[in-house]
Symmetry: C2
Subunit: 205 residues, 2 copies
Protein backbone atom coordinates (compact mmCIF):
# COMPACT_ATOMS: atom_id res chain seq x y z
CA UNK A 1 0.00 0.00 0.00
CA UNK A 2 2.16 2.87 1.27
CA UNK A 3 5.40 1.58 -0.15
CA UNK A 4 7.03 4.97 0.18
CA UNK A 5 10.73 4.28 -0.07
CA UNK A 6 13.00 6.53 1.93
CA UNK A 7 14.96 9.11 -0.06
CA UNK A 8 18.12 8.05 -1.77
CA UNK A 9 20.81 9.93 -3.65
CA UNK A 10 20.90 8.40 -7.10
CA UNK A 11 19.48 5.54 -9.07
CA UNK A 12 22.29 3.29 -7.97
CA UNK A 13 22.62 2.74 -4.29
CA UNK A 14 26.32 2.07 -3.98
CA UNK A 15 26.36 -0.52 -1.22
CA UNK A 16 22.94 -2.09 -1.21
CA UNK A 17 23.98 -5.45 0.27
CA UNK A 18 25.38 -3.76 3.36
CA UNK A 19 22.39 -1.48 3.68
CA UNK A 20 20.01 -4.42 3.35
CA UNK A 21 21.87 -6.47 5.91
CA UNK A 22 21.88 -3.58 8.34
CA UNK A 23 18.19 -2.94 7.83
CA UNK A 24 17.42 -6.61 8.29
CA UNK A 25 19.37 -6.73 11.56
CA UNK A 26 17.57 -3.64 12.78
CA UNK A 27 14.23 -5.16 11.88
CA UNK A 28 15.20 -8.41 13.56
CA UNK A 29 16.09 -6.65 16.81
CA UNK A 30 12.90 -4.64 16.68
CA UNK A 31 10.28 -7.16 15.69
CA UNK A 32 11.68 -10.68 15.65
CA UNK A 33 12.62 -13.19 12.99
CA UNK A 34 9.18 -13.79 11.57
CA UNK A 35 8.71 -10.12 10.84
CA UNK A 36 11.94 -9.84 8.89
CA UNK A 37 10.42 -9.80 5.47
CA UNK A 38 12.37 -9.16 2.31
CA UNK A 39 9.82 -6.59 1.25
CA UNK A 40 9.94 -4.71 4.53
CA UNK A 41 13.73 -4.72 4.47
CA UNK A 42 13.59 -3.30 0.95
CA UNK A 43 11.07 -0.70 2.06
CA UNK A 44 13.30 0.44 4.91
CA UNK A 45 16.30 0.61 2.63
CA UNK A 46 14.28 2.71 0.21
CA UNK A 47 14.49 0.26 -2.59
CA UNK A 48 12.03 -1.75 -4.68
CA UNK A 49 10.79 -5.19 -3.53
CA UNK A 50 12.77 -6.97 -6.22
CA UNK A 51 16.08 -5.22 -5.67
CA UNK A 52 17.34 -7.38 -2.79
CA UNK A 53 17.25 -10.43 -5.03
CA UNK A 54 20.02 -8.91 -7.15
CA UNK A 55 22.34 -9.43 -4.21
CA UNK A 56 20.85 -12.29 -2.22
CA UNK A 57 19.59 -15.50 -3.78
CA UNK A 58 16.67 -15.64 -1.38
CA UNK A 59 15.50 -14.66 2.08
CA UNK A 60 17.68 -17.32 3.67
CA UNK A 61 20.77 -15.83 2.04
CA UNK A 62 19.92 -12.41 3.41
CA UNK A 63 19.43 -13.88 6.87
CA UNK A 64 22.73 -15.70 6.59
CA UNK A 65 24.42 -12.38 5.95
CA UNK A 66 22.76 -11.04 9.06
CA UNK A 67 24.04 -14.02 11.02
CA UNK A 68 27.53 -13.15 9.85
CA UNK A 69 27.22 -9.69 11.36
CA UNK A 70 25.81 -11.06 14.56
CA UNK A 71 28.58 -13.61 14.97
CA UNK A 72 31.19 -10.94 14.48
CA UNK A 73 29.54 -8.89 17.19
CA UNK A 74 29.17 -11.95 19.41
CA UNK A 75 32.86 -12.75 19.08
CA UNK A 76 33.79 -9.32 20.40
CA UNK A 77 31.23 -9.65 23.16
CA UNK A 78 32.66 -12.97 24.32
CA UNK A 79 36.24 -11.75 24.19
CA UNK A 80 35.26 -8.87 26.44
CA UNK A 81 33.27 -11.17 28.72
CA UNK A 82 36.18 -13.53 29.26
CA UNK A 83 38.64 -10.69 29.66
CA UNK A 84 36.58 -8.87 32.28
CA UNK A 85 35.54 -11.86 34.37
CA UNK A 86 38.03 -12.99 36.96
CA UNK A 87 36.58 -16.45 37.47
CA UNK A 88 37.34 -19.48 35.28
CA UNK A 89 37.20 -18.63 31.59
CA UNK A 90 34.71 -21.40 30.98
CA UNK A 91 32.27 -19.82 33.38
CA UNK A 92 32.78 -16.39 31.88
CA UNK A 93 32.19 -17.83 28.45
CA UNK A 94 28.96 -19.49 29.48
CA UNK A 95 27.68 -16.44 31.31
CA UNK A 96 28.59 -14.23 28.39
CA UNK A 97 26.61 -16.48 26.12
CA UNK A 98 23.55 -16.38 28.30
CA UNK A 99 23.79 -12.62 28.77
CA UNK A 100 24.03 -12.09 25.05
CA UNK A 101 20.88 -14.13 24.58
CA UNK A 102 19.10 -12.06 27.22
CA UNK A 103 20.18 -8.81 25.62
CA UNK A 104 19.44 -9.88 22.04
CA UNK A 105 16.70 -12.48 22.15
CA UNK A 106 15.75 -12.12 18.51
CA UNK A 107 19.31 -12.50 17.33
CA UNK A 108 19.46 -15.70 19.26
CA UNK A 109 16.27 -16.82 17.61
CA UNK A 110 17.86 -16.32 14.22
CA UNK A 111 21.17 -17.91 15.13
CA UNK A 112 19.44 -21.02 16.37
CA UNK A 113 17.81 -21.49 13.01
CA UNK A 114 20.98 -20.97 11.02
CA UNK A 115 24.10 -21.59 12.98
CA UNK A 116 23.50 -25.08 14.14
CA UNK A 117 22.14 -26.22 10.82
CA UNK A 118 24.31 -28.38 8.65
CA UNK A 119 24.51 -26.16 5.56
CA UNK A 120 26.42 -23.01 6.26
CA UNK A 121 28.40 -20.86 3.86
CA UNK A 122 32.16 -20.99 4.28
CA UNK A 123 32.54 -17.60 5.91
CA UNK A 124 30.03 -18.51 8.56
CA UNK A 125 31.58 -21.89 9.17
CA UNK A 126 34.94 -20.26 9.71
CA UNK A 127 33.59 -17.84 12.24
CA UNK A 128 31.92 -20.69 14.07
CA UNK A 129 34.91 -22.94 14.20
CA UNK A 130 36.89 -19.97 15.46
CA UNK A 131 34.53 -19.63 18.39
CA UNK A 132 34.61 -23.38 18.96
CA UNK A 133 38.39 -23.44 18.98
CA UNK A 134 38.40 -20.66 21.51
CA UNK A 135 36.09 -22.74 23.67
CA UNK A 136 38.24 -25.85 23.34
CA UNK A 137 41.30 -23.79 24.26
CA UNK A 138 39.51 -22.51 27.31
CA UNK A 139 38.60 -26.03 28.34
CA UNK A 140 42.08 -27.48 27.92
CA UNK A 141 43.62 -24.58 29.82
CA UNK A 142 41.00 -24.92 32.52
CA UNK A 143 41.70 -28.62 32.87
CA UNK A 144 45.43 -28.03 33.15
CA UNK A 145 44.83 -25.37 35.77
CA UNK A 146 42.67 -27.80 37.71
CA UNK A 147 39.62 -25.57 37.33
CA UNK A 148 37.75 -28.03 35.15
CA UNK A 149 37.27 -31.72 35.73
CA UNK A 150 39.21 -34.01 33.44
CA UNK A 151 37.68 -35.74 30.47
CA UNK A 152 37.48 -35.52 26.72
CA UNK A 153 37.47 -31.78 25.99
CA UNK A 154 35.02 -32.41 23.18
CA UNK A 155 32.50 -33.96 25.55
CA UNK A 156 33.06 -31.36 28.23
CA UNK A 157 32.68 -28.67 25.60
CA UNK A 158 29.56 -30.24 24.22
CA UNK A 159 28.02 -30.46 27.65
CA UNK A 160 28.86 -26.85 28.35
CA UNK A 161 27.47 -25.72 25.03
CA UNK A 162 24.30 -27.73 25.54
CA UNK A 163 23.73 -26.38 29.04
CA UNK A 164 24.37 -22.80 28.06
CA UNK A 165 22.48 -23.11 24.81
CA UNK A 166 19.48 -24.69 26.47
CA UNK A 167 19.48 -22.09 29.21
CA UNK A 168 19.60 -19.29 26.66
CA UNK A 169 16.85 -20.93 24.74
CA UNK A 170 14.60 -21.14 27.73
CA UNK A 171 15.28 -17.52 28.55
CA UNK A 172 14.62 -16.36 25.02
CA UNK A 173 11.40 -18.36 24.91
CA UNK A 174 10.20 -16.71 28.08
CA UNK A 175 10.33 -19.85 30.20
CA UNK A 176 12.46 -18.06 32.75
CA UNK A 177 11.21 -14.69 33.99
CA UNK A 178 13.57 -12.12 32.43
CA UNK A 179 14.26 -10.25 35.67
CA UNK A 180 15.57 -13.35 37.39
CA UNK A 181 16.95 -15.05 34.32
CA UNK A 182 20.51 -13.87 34.66
CA UNK A 183 20.79 -14.62 38.34
CA UNK A 184 19.17 -18.00 37.89
CA UNK A 185 21.49 -18.78 35.02
CA UNK A 186 24.45 -17.88 37.18
CA UNK A 187 23.18 -20.19 39.91
CA UNK A 188 22.67 -23.03 37.50
CA UNK A 189 26.09 -22.59 35.98
CA UNK A 190 27.68 -22.51 39.40
CA UNK A 191 25.75 -25.37 40.93
CA UNK A 192 25.60 -27.94 38.23
CA UNK A 193 27.26 -26.69 35.20
CA UNK A 194 30.28 -26.78 33.02
CA UNK A 195 32.22 -29.31 35.01
CA UNK A 196 33.79 -26.59 37.07
CA UNK A 197 35.56 -27.98 40.11
CA UNK A 198 34.55 -26.47 43.42
CA UNK A 199 32.15 -24.32 41.56
CA UNK A 200 30.53 -23.12 44.77
CA UNK A 201 33.57 -20.87 45.22
CA UNK A 202 32.40 -18.71 42.38
CA UNK A 203 28.98 -17.79 43.62
CA UNK A 204 28.47 -14.04 43.46
CA UNK A 205 28.91 -11.87 46.57
Amino acid sequence: MDDKPVERAGYHHGSLPDALTAAALELLDERGLEQVTVREVARRTGVSPGAPFRHFADRQALLTAVVGRILADFEQWQLAAVAEDEGPAMRAFGLGFVRYAIRHPHRFELIRSKVFGSRQPTELRQRLSGIEQALTGIIVAGQQAGELRAGDPAVVGLAGQALVYGLSQMIVDGYLPPEQAEQLAEQVLDTCGLGIVNSADFQGP
Copy 2:
Protein backbone atom coordinates in the same frame (compact mmCIF):
# COMPACT_ATOMS: atom_id res chain seq x y z
CA MET B 1 -3.52 -25.79 -8.09
CA ASP B 2 -4.68 -29.36 -7.57
CA ASP B 3 -6.85 -28.71 -4.58
CA LYS B 4 -8.51 -32.12 -4.88
CA PRO B 5 -9.91 -32.82 -1.45
CA VAL B 6 -9.95 -36.42 -0.34
CA GLU B 7 -13.34 -38.14 -0.28
CA ARG B 8 -15.57 -37.65 2.71
CA ALA B 9 -18.88 -39.19 3.78
CA GLY B 10 -21.25 -36.25 4.10
CA TYR B 11 -21.29 -32.52 4.07
CA HIS B 12 -20.65 -32.38 7.75
CA HIS B 13 -17.52 -34.00 8.93
CA GLY B 14 -18.44 -35.04 12.42
CA SER B 15 -15.13 -34.46 14.17
CA LEU B 16 -13.24 -31.99 12.09
CA PRO B 17 -11.12 -30.55 14.90
CA ASP B 18 -9.69 -33.99 15.65
CA ALA B 19 -9.17 -34.77 12.00
CA LEU B 20 -7.43 -31.44 11.43
CA THR B 21 -5.18 -31.91 14.43
CA ALA B 22 -4.25 -35.38 13.29
CA ALA B 23 -3.54 -34.21 9.74
CA ALA B 24 -1.45 -31.35 11.06
CA LEU B 25 0.61 -33.69 13.23
CA GLU B 26 1.13 -36.02 10.30
CA LEU B 27 2.20 -33.13 8.13
CA LEU B 28 4.51 -31.88 10.85
CA ASP B 29 6.23 -35.25 11.15
CA GLU B 30 6.56 -35.51 7.39
CA ARG B 31 7.68 -32.07 6.35
CA GLY B 32 8.46 -29.92 9.34
CA LEU B 33 6.84 -26.96 11.04
CA GLU B 34 7.17 -24.45 8.25
CA GLN B 35 5.30 -26.71 5.85
CA VAL B 36 2.37 -27.12 8.19
CA THR B 37 0.06 -24.80 6.39
CA VAL B 38 -3.60 -24.36 7.25
CA ARG B 39 -4.52 -24.83 3.61
CA GLU B 40 -2.54 -28.03 3.22
CA VAL B 41 -4.02 -29.40 6.43
CA ALA B 42 -7.48 -28.60 5.09
CA ARG B 43 -6.60 -30.22 1.77
CA ARG B 44 -5.49 -33.42 3.48
CA THR B 45 -8.59 -33.50 5.58
CA GLY B 46 -10.67 -33.07 2.45
CA VAL B 47 -12.16 -29.79 3.48
CA SER B 48 -12.19 -26.24 2.13
CA PRO B 49 -9.48 -23.73 3.07
CA GLY B 50 -11.81 -21.76 5.31
CA ALA B 51 -13.21 -24.68 7.25
CA PRO B 52 -10.44 -24.97 9.85
CA PHE B 53 -11.17 -21.44 11.01
CA ARG B 54 -14.57 -22.60 12.25
CA HIS B 55 -12.73 -24.59 14.91
CA PHE B 56 -9.40 -22.84 15.41
CA ALA B 57 -9.03 -19.10 15.77
CA ASP B 58 -5.86 -19.11 13.70
CA ARG B 59 -2.88 -21.23 12.69
CA GLN B 60 -1.34 -20.84 16.13
CA ALA B 61 -4.42 -22.30 17.75
CA LEU B 62 -4.27 -25.31 15.48
CA LEU B 63 -0.61 -25.80 16.31
CA THR B 64 -1.37 -25.51 20.00
CA ALA B 65 -3.84 -28.36 19.63
CA VAL B 66 -1.10 -30.38 17.97
CA VAL B 67 1.22 -29.62 20.87
CA GLY B 68 -1.42 -30.99 23.20
CA ARG B 69 -1.35 -34.29 21.37
CA ILE B 70 2.40 -34.39 21.32
CA LEU B 71 2.68 -33.71 25.05
CA ALA B 72 0.23 -36.50 25.82
CA ASP B 73 2.35 -38.84 23.73
CA PHE B 74 5.55 -37.53 25.31
CA GLU B 75 4.20 -38.13 28.78
CA GLN B 76 3.63 -41.81 28.01
CA TRP B 77 7.05 -42.02 26.39
CA GLN B 78 8.76 -40.64 29.46
CA LEU B 79 6.84 -42.87 31.84
CA ALA B 80 7.99 -45.86 29.83
CA ALA B 81 11.56 -44.55 29.65
CA VAL B 82 11.83 -44.11 33.41
CA ALA B 83 10.15 -47.45 34.07
CA GLU B 84 12.41 -49.41 31.75
CA ASP B 85 15.72 -47.82 32.71
CA GLU B 86 17.42 -49.28 35.76
CA GLY B 87 19.73 -46.35 36.41
CA PRO B 88 18.75 -43.21 38.29
CA ALA B 89 15.37 -41.87 37.22
CA MET B 90 16.88 -38.48 36.47
CA ARG B 91 19.19 -40.01 33.93
CA ALA B 92 16.41 -42.03 32.36
CA PHE B 93 14.30 -38.92 32.16
CA GLY B 94 17.03 -36.96 30.43
CA LEU B 95 17.87 -39.74 28.02
CA GLY B 96 14.21 -40.26 27.24
CA PHE B 97 13.91 -36.60 26.43
CA VAL B 98 16.87 -36.65 24.08
CA ARG B 99 15.72 -39.84 22.40
CA TYR B 100 12.28 -38.41 21.82
CA ALA B 101 13.86 -35.41 20.14
CA ILE B 102 15.94 -37.69 17.94
CA ARG B 103 12.94 -39.74 16.94
CA HIS B 104 10.61 -36.79 16.38
CA PRO B 105 12.75 -33.81 15.43
CA HIS B 106 9.91 -31.82 13.92
CA ARG B 107 7.73 -32.27 16.96
CA PHE B 108 10.53 -30.89 19.00
CA GLU B 109 10.77 -27.95 16.64
CA LEU B 110 7.12 -27.16 17.27
CA ILE B 111 7.27 -27.69 21.01
CA ARG B 112 10.16 -25.31 21.33
CA SER B 113 8.13 -22.58 19.73
CA LYS B 114 5.05 -23.13 21.86
CA VAL B 115 5.76 -24.88 25.10
CA PHE B 116 8.30 -22.58 26.58
CA GLY B 117 6.46 -19.47 25.55
CA SER B 118 4.68 -17.49 28.22
CA ARG B 119 1.14 -17.64 26.80
CA GLN B 120 -0.20 -21.14 26.87
CA PRO B 121 -3.80 -22.30 27.11
CA THR B 122 -4.82 -23.85 30.41
CA GLU B 123 -4.91 -27.43 29.20
CA LEU B 124 -1.37 -27.18 27.91
CA ARG B 125 -0.11 -25.51 31.06
CA GLN B 126 -1.58 -28.33 33.13
CA ARG B 127 0.14 -30.97 31.09
CA LEU B 128 3.41 -29.12 31.40
CA SER B 129 3.24 -28.61 35.11
CA GLY B 130 2.41 -32.30 35.41
CA ILE B 131 5.65 -33.17 33.68
CA GLU B 132 7.55 -30.66 35.77
CA GLN B 133 6.14 -32.05 38.98
CA ALA B 134 7.20 -35.51 37.89
CA LEU B 135 10.70 -34.17 37.33
CA THR B 136 10.80 -32.45 40.72
CA GLY B 137 9.64 -35.67 42.34
CA ILE B 138 12.40 -37.54 40.60
CA ILE B 139 14.96 -35.05 41.82
CA VAL B 140 13.86 -35.05 45.43
CA ALA B 141 13.74 -38.85 45.50
CA GLY B 142 17.14 -39.00 43.84
CA GLN B 143 18.60 -36.63 46.40
CA GLN B 144 17.19 -38.64 49.29
CA ALA B 145 18.59 -41.81 47.77
CA GLY B 146 21.99 -40.13 47.46
CA GLU B 147 21.94 -40.47 43.69
CA LEU B 148 21.76 -36.74 43.07
CA ARG B 149 23.85 -34.05 44.63
CA ALA B 150 22.05 -31.86 47.15
CA GLY B 151 20.79 -28.40 46.36
CA ASP B 152 17.62 -26.54 45.55
CA PRO B 153 15.58 -29.01 43.48
CA ALA B 154 14.36 -26.12 41.33
CA VAL B 155 17.91 -25.20 40.35
CA VAL B 156 18.96 -28.80 39.84
CA GLY B 157 15.86 -29.35 37.75
CA LEU B 158 16.47 -26.23 35.75
CA ALA B 159 20.04 -27.25 35.05
CA GLY B 160 18.93 -30.68 33.96
CA GLN B 161 16.22 -29.29 31.75
CA ALA B 162 18.60 -26.81 30.20
CA LEU B 163 21.25 -29.43 29.49
CA VAL B 164 18.83 -31.91 28.05
CA TYR B 165 16.90 -29.27 26.17
CA GLY B 166 20.03 -27.77 24.67
CA LEU B 167 21.35 -31.17 23.71
CA SER B 168 18.09 -32.06 22.02
CA GLN B 169 18.10 -28.74 20.28
CA MET B 170 21.56 -29.27 18.90
CA ILE B 171 20.61 -32.72 17.70
CA VAL B 172 17.44 -31.51 16.05
CA ASP B 173 19.32 -28.70 14.37
CA GLY B 174 21.82 -31.16 12.94
CA TYR B 175 24.75 -29.89 14.96
CA LEU B 176 25.43 -33.39 16.18
CA PRO B 177 25.63 -36.17 13.58
CA PRO B 178 22.43 -38.20 14.04
CA GLU B 179 24.19 -41.58 14.10
CA GLN B 180 26.35 -40.58 17.03
CA ALA B 181 23.89 -38.23 18.63
CA GLU B 182 22.39 -40.68 21.09
CA GLN B 183 25.67 -42.12 22.23
CA LEU B 184 27.20 -38.69 22.56
CA ALA B 185 24.22 -37.49 24.49
CA GLU B 186 24.59 -40.43 26.83
CA GLN B 187 28.24 -39.59 27.33
CA VAL B 188 27.49 -35.96 28.04
CA LEU B 189 24.76 -36.83 30.48
CA ASP B 190 27.02 -39.29 32.27
CA THR B 191 30.11 -37.15 32.32
CA CYS B 192 28.89 -33.71 33.16
CA GLY B 193 25.21 -33.73 33.51
CA LEU B 194 22.29 -33.73 35.80
CA GLY B 195 24.20 -33.57 39.01
CA ILE B 196 24.31 -37.32 39.23
CA VAL B 197 26.72 -38.50 41.89
CA ASN B 198 29.34 -40.98 40.72
CA SER B 199 27.87 -40.65 37.29
CA ALA B 200 30.81 -42.56 35.84
CA ASP B 201 29.17 -45.71 37.20
CA PHE B 202 26.51 -45.42 34.60
CA GLN B 203 28.63 -45.33 31.52
CA GLY B 204 27.43 -47.85 28.98
CA PRO B 205 28.99 -51.36 28.85
